[in-house]
Symmetry: C2
Subunit: 203 residues, 2 copies
DNA sequence: CTTGAATAGTCATATTCTTGACTATCCAAG
DNA sequence: CTTGGATAGTCAAGAATATGACTATTCAAG
């Protein structure tokens, strides 16, 4: 149950409405925690009942009234407690990797397309992360900022997101190239092509 | 609902019992899909009811009787269908990243310890993946194997796991170093240390 | 000769997450 | 003057996951 802690961590940078929070989760936070708007509204309500966040109503003229939430002292204490407790091992879930695992038994063309699409998505995220990082460190260079900047937490997690997507892109491009080469080498085979194995090569 | 497909993909390499499958998930497959043994038994039962896998009873003398499962033609067709459908975006969940996001507001010492422990875990996984990869490619070098080997799917996903853990390790080590340096620079501060910010520097 | 680890598997409960729909207001483009 | 997108939020139902406990057998260490 760390969604609540992810929400608390996201609210540390200032007051957010549920809607803004949902967008934040879609961007930065999404790189290490994923949640739909519905869950966030529900979690905010629970956190408020428990006194870990507090909301204040903001009546807007041109927009629907919204509620801005901030972390309370109790919320900060809960984050402290969470941060000191043992971390569960991280986990990833990725359809595409499941498909690649089965690559030798399924249609190559569609798989290659999907891997290349994923590379493009990763590239877009890389650009986004680079922009966010530039904005966060302001005039300072990275080393300076990491030594002296306030709030390096979000910067560090963003760096992990950047490296992750770079790894993603590189792997996708390489994988696509390999699958392409292999499917070119056996143009008339369907699933599970009988490529040259060590045994065959010896024969 | 891609657990079923992860199970099918894992069973492509040969018959496995529920127990063996659980261990396979704990190792290789866990890098892109995570599931507890209970889920796997339940999923196998469902897959069998739907005719996507078939099990055969194996009576053992020295061990409890087990059931070995393999993918049926219908299961293969289902995998094909899945592989051609659009992939959901991958997602990661990581307690540790949530904690680092809040790094400027929580106790540094405990966080540094955890980040360094994670680096060690990553290192161990790197070793494991290297061994698995070596074993999979047999006598061939990597390039050769990727061009001509049978079943490159598991090899490719393992490569992604390796790169992921290398990224993890590198980021953890860098993050630990930065947090250490910062907490050394403000030895008597508690949470949210007032480090030199651009504004402060100007003053 | 008892304890603990590994094998092999099951059940029930509770929480969490996803899906899909729904209510509103405002602004801008066509 | 209607449609679509952005803002702001809510509800209900159902699927998927997690937690914890439970039954057995075998082998090896102490």
């Amino acid at each position: 149950m760390a969604l609540r802690h992810a929400v608390l961590a996201a609210l540390l940078d200032g007051e957010l409405s549920g809607y803004q929070l949902a967008k934040a989760f879609d961007l930065g936070v999404a790189n290490f925690w994923h949640a739909l708007p519905q869950q966030l509204y529900a979690e905010l309500a629970k956190l408020e009942r428990e006194g870990l966040v507090a909301g204040r109503q903001v009546v807007q003229e041109t927009r629907p009234t919204k509620r801005l939430f901030h972390v309370t002292d109790a919320g900060l204490a809960e984050l402290e407690r969470f941060a000191s407790a043992a971390s569960k091992p991280s986990f990833v879930r990725d359809d595409l990797l499941v498909k690649v695992q089965a690559a030798d038994h399924v249609d190559a063309a569609s798989l290659i397309t999907q891997v290349e699409e994923r590379a493009a998505v990763a590239e877009a995220k890389i650009d986004l992360f680079r922009r966010i990082l530039r904005k966060m460190r302001g005039g300072l260079n990275e080393e300076e900022f990491l030594r002296t900047g306030r709030r390096v937490g979000p910067y560090l997690t963003c760096l992990r997101g950047l490296a992750f997507e770079e790894g993603n892109r590189d792997w996708c491009l390489r994988t696509a190239a390999i699958l392409r080469e292999r499917s070119a080498a056996t143009p008339r085979e369907g699933a599970a092509p009988a490529l040259a194995s060590p045994e065959v090569a010896r024969a």
